[in-house]
Structures are given as C-alpha cells and as structure tokens.
Symmetry: C2
Subunit: 145 residues, 2 copies
C-alpha cells in the first residue's frame, strides 16, 4: 500500500517548513535535503501554495514559509486532498472492472481507506514536528541553521 | 493511495473462485474475464497456492479451486500478507529519508495503515461474494456457467 510520491514529498515539505516556523527555506534547499529533483519539489510546493498551506516570496533571497493554516492543518485532511478521490485498486482504469458498482470489495476498500484517513485526522502538521522529529529536521532545511 | 496490482488481482481471483465454490476455473478463463495478462495472473495464482487459499489440478481439464481456508480467510489478513511489511511512503528507498526512526509521520502512517487493515479484518473472502457481487461474478468466471 503506497501513497503517491507527490503526497510523500508534500508531507515532508510542510513538516520541514513547520519546524523552522517564521524562518524561510527554499525549494533548492529542501530538494537537496531530501535528495529529490528540484522540478518535482517545485510542483509540490506550488500545490501546497494553492491549498494555502505555504506562501512564497519571489526573487533574490525569497523563499518558502509555512502559513498559520499550514501549521494547524489536519494531516488526514491534507492526505485526503493530495491523494484525491481514487480507489485503492483499479476499479475504473483503462479496462474497468466488470463488477464495478455491484462490488462488495470496492465498498469494503473504501471504508478501509476512510479508516486510514480518519486515523490521521486528529494530527496536525505542527504535531509532526515535535521531538524527536523537529530537532533532526531543523538542521536539514533551515537556510541559515 | 494504492494497493499493488498483484494484490488487486489476488483479491479478484479469490472472489471469483469463491463464487463458484466446488467448481473450478482456469487461469486463462479468469485472465480473460479480468482482461489482464495470463503470465501476471499465473504468478498471482501461484502465490495464492503457497498461502493455501487456492488449489490447482494439473493437466487437461485441470483448473483452480478455492480451498476451505480460502473461503474463510480474513480479507484484512490476506491484504496484509500480499502487501508485505513496507511503509506507505518511501522511508527506506534508494535514498533513505534522513529522519527515519525519529519520524513522527512514519509512526502515524503505520498506525493509519493498521487502521486500514483492521477495517478489513472482520470480513471473509466468502462475505465478498454475497449478492449483488456473486451473481455478476458467476457468469464471468465459471468454465461452464
């Protein structure tokens, strides 16, 4: 069972920015810390901006910062939005399953997916940065640690 | 959030065989009904045999049949075994995450994953074949419907 690579990165970005709070970081710095391509991280950062969780300042010395809404965001809610509405198996792909709406498995997997998200609902992005996670992250992403 | 393609197929195979009970089907018939490659389905069927959920009879007229253990198998237990021990994000891939064991997100995602499986635990393979699923499946997979 896997989340998408974009969701994985988005969670790391908000955690990284949450831990430095009012400070800023840059896409380049975070991409370097996470050893992922700059272009992929830039797309993820743009999506987080659209969701109002991150704000950016352009130009020389500009960077990324978490918003107040980003700090308070529910991890379950965030993962729901990042993952979208899809099923955990391929019910409606290029060759849709003939069972489709009469499938008991589909309903069961939807309830299981909801249980997954519900387990993450009470947790906020800020919660994820408490010790021991926070201190390790600070050194990785702060531009001037 | 996605299960692997192999888990998806394995669930469809046990459901398909459960619905025809004492009857047999063949890998070719099921692969055709599900519009998936024969070779992929053969691997999945071999895995289900190793788990004792399916039995096969070789040779001309031979086929696949669900076992009593297969009918009673918990869907949660089955998905756990098929998916293995991995994390839902890439904690230990080619470039392991520097947070790793000090990561609060990792723990939270493990609990969420467990909530997903736990939601499927009370359900058996046989439960998945009750109406309206069963009647639709019979026509698809029985060799002599």
């Amino acid at each position: 069972m896997r989340l998408t690579k974009s969701t994985d990165l988005a969670l790391r970005v908000v955690m990284s920015l949450a831990v430095i709070g009012e400070e800023e970081s840059t896409i380049a710095k975070i991409a370097d810390a996470m050893q992922v391509p700059y272009s992929h991280l830039a797309k993820v950062a743009a999506q987080l901006q659209r969701l109002g969780l991150v704000e950016s300042r352009r130009g020389r010395g500009g960077g990324l910062r978490i918003t107040a809404a980003g700090l308070r965001a529910s991890v379950g809610g965030l993962v729901r939005r990042l993952e979208g509405e899809g099923d955990v198996v391929d019910c409606e792909g290029a060759t849709p399953c003939p069972l489709n709406s009469s499938c008991r498995l589909r309903g069961a997997l939807r309830r299981a997916q909801e249980a997954f998200y519900a387990s993450l609902d009470p947790l906020t992005v800020e919660d994820l940065t408490r010790s021991p996670t926070g201190p390790v992250l600070v050194g990785l992403v702060a531009v001037n640690p």
